[in-house]
Symmetry: C2
Subunit: 448 residues, 2 copies
C-alpha cells in the first residue's frame, strides 16, 4: 500500500489516488509489454518519474498500473560534437549534469526539483534558465515513445531542424502521459559559460521589480536567469538559508558569457534597474557566493513552508505576456493580502511566469476554500490578460476546469487527437480534461 | 486558366496541377465560409501565400479550390513591450520588417524568398538567421486556424510559455496546409542588433569550411548567420552580383550584438577558422558592404540559374547532425561531380542544413533521371546519417517517398491525427504522404 501511495505523490490538496499496482521498468520493452497488456484489458497506465509534479498528474483516479521509470536511468549517448545527449526517461537533470561535467557542456533546464527528463517532457517543464535557453519544447530534439498499443515509435532525429511531416515531438512534450509513455529523450546541450555572474538587487515594490524585468527583456539583454522573490519569500529565505537580504521585492539574476560580456551585461542591467528604483545591485562571479544564492532560491519552497510549519505549501503557477506581468503580480498580491493568507510569490519573471505558494492548513475547510478561490481568481486573471493558467506545471487534475476558458473550441481538436491516438483512453485518464471519452476500468473510484 | 496555373506554382519538375477555382480571401470569414462549402461537398482546399514553396505544396492533384491569402495582408498588432507581432497570414516577412523598422525590433527569419508568414508556418520555414533565432517552430507563439469544418480556433496565447494542454501551435507549424488554413499568426520579435558585423572567409575545401562551422557551433559562439557557398556558387555570385571573391569554398558570416560583443565574436571566429585553413577573413559593420554581400547570397538561386540559362534550377535541402555535415556535403559533392551535373551547394551550415541547386535541362529525360537519382541518394544519405530529408522546404509532393524511411512506424500516428482532424481529407490532399485515406473529389486527374 505504501509503495502505491508513494507513486501517487501529489503536492496539491488533491487526494492521493494510488494505482492498483506499481511496475518498475528497466527497459523500454518492459514498458511496451506492460502497456500491451493494459491495452488488451482496457486498464489505465500512469508513468512515474520521481514524483515532483504539482497538479496531481500521478494520481490514478481509475486505478490501473503505475509504471515507475526511475530505474531506466542510463545516459545512452553524449554527442559532444552535436551538443546533444540521449538519455533514458528516468535520468534526472542532476545526474545528467554530473555526467556532463567533464565535457564542458551542460543541460540548462532547471525546474527546481531534481525531476527526471521524462517527467520534464511530460509537463513541458522549464524553470529558472528558460528565459535564455528555452523550455522543454525548445530543447527536446527527439523522443522514443511507447504508444497505447505498446508499439514503439521514434519522433524526430538528431538533426537540429526538420520540415518532414507533423511535429510529433512537440505534440508529446506537455501531453502529461496522456498519449504515450516516453522511454528515451534526446536533448540539446549548451556550452558551460566561461564566466557566470550572479547578483541581487532590491526594489521599493513588486511592481517596480516587474517593470525593471520588463525593461531588461525589452532591451534584449541575454540574461540567463531573472527571478523575483517578494518580501515574504525573502524573509523565508533569510531564515531558512542564512541570508541577510533586506525584506524587499528582490531580483536574483545571472549572466552567462565571456568575462567581458558578463561585465557588459551586468553594467547594462545596473543602468536599467536604476530607472525603477532598483538599489544595492551586487554581483560577482565567485562560485561560493553564487551557489549560496541559488541554493536559497532552490529551497524557496521549503523556506516558505518553514514560515508556517503546520501548514502545507501549495504551489501554483501562471504566465502572462510580460507587459501584463506587473499588473498580474500586484493584483494577485493584493488578493492574497485581502484574504489574509500567507502566500509568498516567486517567479521566472523574465518569461512572464510566476508562482504563488499558498501556505494552507489543509485541515481547515475555510482556509482551503479561500486558497482555492485565490487560485481560481489567479488562473482566470492570467487567462484574461492574454496568458495561460499554467506556464510550466501542467494541467493534471488541478487545472482541468480552466481548459475551456483558455482554449475554447481548440479543446475539440486536442480531444480528437487524444481519441485518435488513445482510443481506449488508457493513458493517464482523468488528466487535462474531465470528459474522458474512454473505457478505462474504474477500479479505484471507491477507494479514494 | 493562367490564374489557376499561377496558383499551382512549382519550382520542381513536378507538373503544374491547377485547382478548379481560385478564391481571393480578404477576411478569415471568407476562408471559413469557403472551407465550410468545400467540407460539405468533399472538395479539396489548398491555401496559397506567394507561391515560393519548393516541393509542389500548391499543386491540386485532385482539383478543388485554391484560396489565395495574399490580400489578407494586415499587420494586426505590434506589441513592442512583449516583443510580439500579430499579422494576417498573407503578410510577407519583408512587409513585416518594413513595418517594424521604426520600432527597433525585427522579425529575424529569412528563408530567402519574400514568403508570407502563413506560408512560412505551413512549411516550418527557417533560413539564414535560424542558427541564432530559431525556426518557425520556435518563433511562432500562437495561430488562428480555420479547421476543415470551417470552425475557427486559436492555438496558444501571447504568453511566452504554457503547459496547458497539447501544443496545437507546433502541430500546425509544418503541416503544409493538411490540417487547416492559418489565417493569423503571432510571432516573437527581437531587438535590432546595435551592431551587425558581416564578413567572408575562404577555405581550401568544402570539408574544411564545414569543419570550421562545426567548431564555431561547438564553441557556442552566438553567430547570427553562417552560410556556406561552394566554389561553383561563388563563381555564379561573382558573375551575377558583381563580387570578386576567390572561387573557393566560402563562408558568409554575420555577428549581432553590441560593438564590443561583435568585435569579440569576430576575433574568436578568426581564431577558430585558422585551425581549418580559413583565410582572408574580412569583416566590418559597414551597411553598404553588408547589403551587397547578403544581396548576393539572396540571389544565389538566380545567380546559379544564370550559369546555365537554358536549364531550370531545382532546389533541394537536407539536414544532418552537424557532426556529419562535412561528410554529407562532401559525399554529395562527389556524387554530383560523378554524374557530370552542374549543381552548386549552398547552406545554412550552422544548423547542419544545406541546399543543392541542380541545373537541369528538363526537356532532357536522361538528365532529369540523373538529377532525380542525385536527389534520392541525398535524401537517403541524410536520413542514414541520422538526419532528415528536408530541413526547411517540407515534403509536399516531392519528398513523400522518404517519409517511411525517415519516420518508420511514427507515420501511423501522423496519419491518425490527419484522419481525426480532417476525416474527409479535403485539406491539401496528396501532400506529405501518398496514401490519402480521403474522399476528395478527383476532378482534376485527367487534366494534368
Amino acid at each position: 500500500m505504501t509503495t502505491r501511495e508513494q507513486h501517487a505523490h501529489t503536492t496539491t490538496w488533491l487526494l492521493n489516488q494510488p494505482a492498483d499496482a506499481v511496475l518498475t521498468a528497466k527497459h523500454k520493452y518492459d514498458v511496451a509489454d506492460a502497456v500491451k497488456i493494459c491495452y488488451e484489458y482496457h486498464m489505465p497506465v500512469i508513468a512515474f518519474g520521481i514524483g515532483s509534479s504539482l497538479e496531481g498528474q500521478l494520481n490514478a483516479p481509475y486505478g490501473g498500473l503505475c509504471i515507475d521509470m526511475s530505474q531506466m536511468d542510463e545516459v545512452v549517448a553524449i554527442n559532444e560534437e552535436d551538443l546533444t545527449a540521449t538519455v533514458q526517461a528516468g535520468v534526472t537533470r542532476e545526474v545528467l549534469n554530473d555526467y556532463l561535467r567533464a565535457t564542458g557542456l551542460f543541460f540548462p533546464l532547471d525546474p527546481g526539483a531534481n525531476a527526471t527528463i521524462g517527467g520534464m517532457v511530460a509537463t513541458r517543464a522549464s524553470g529558472t534558465n528558460a528565459v535564455r535557453y528555452g523550455t522543454m519544447k525548445e530543447v527536446v530534439l527527439s523522443l522514443e515513445v511507447v504508444l497505447p498499443t505498446g508499439e514503439i515509435i521514434k519522433t524526430g532525429t538528431r538533426a537540429k531542424k526538420s520540415s518532414a511531416g507533423y511535429d510529433l515531438t512537440r505534440l508529446i512534450v506537455g501531453s502529461e502521459g496522456t498519449l504515450g509513455i516516453v522511454t528515451e529523450v534526446t536533448v540539446k546541450l549548451f556550452g558551460q559559460p566561461e564566466v557566470i555572474g550572479s547578483g541581487t538587487c532590491h526594489f521599493p515594490s513588486i511592481d517596480m521589480a516587474c517593470q525593471a524585468t520588463i525593461a531588461t527583456i525589452q532591451m534584449c539583454l541575454p540574461i540567463a536567469r531573472i527571478e523575483l522573490l517578494d518580501p515574504i519569500q525573502i524573509r523565508a529565505c533569510n531564515q531558512y538559508s542564512g541570508l541577510s537580504l533586506p525584506e524587499k521585492a528582490t531580483l536574483f539574476v545571472e549572466f552567462h558569457g565571456t568575462k567581458q560580456s558578463v561585465a557588459e551585461q551586468a553594467n547594462l542591467f545596473e543602468q536599467i534597474i536604476e530607472d525603477f528604483g532598483g538599489s544595492d545591485f551586487e554581483w560577482g562571479s565567485d562560485e561560493a557566493v553564487r551557489k549560496k544564492l541559488w541554493s536559497a532560491r532552490h529551497h524557496a519552497y521549503y523556506a516558505a513552508c518553514a514560515l508556517r510549519p503546520t501548514a502545507r505549501g501549495l504551489s501554483t503557477d501562471a504566465c502572462v505576456p510580460i507587459s501584463r506581468l506587473a499588473e498580474c503580480v500586484t493584483q494577485t498580491q493584493a488578493d492574497i493580502q485581502k484574504s489574509g493568507m500567507l502566500a509568498p510569490i516567486v517567479g521566472h519573471v523574465g518569461d512572464g511566469n510566476f508562482h504563488v505558494l499558498l501556505l494552507v492548513d489543509t485541515n481547515n475547510d475555510e482556509e482551503l476554500k479561500k486558497a482555492e478561490e485565490i487560485l481560481e481568481r489567479l488562473a482566470v486573471r492570467a487567462i484574461e490578460m492574454g496568458g495561460t493558467c499554467t506556464g510550466e506545471h501542467g494541467i493534471g487534475q488541478g487545472k482541468r476546469k480552466y481548459m475551456q476558458k483558455e482554449h475554447g473550441t481548440a479543446i475539440g481538436v486536442m480531444q480528437a487527437i487524444k481519441q485518435a491516438i488513445d482510443p481506449r483512453g488508457i493513458m493517464n485518464p482523468g488528466k487535462i480534461w474531465f470528459d474522458l471519452g474512454d473505457n478505462a476500468t474504474s477500479t479505484n473510484e471507491s477507494k479514494t
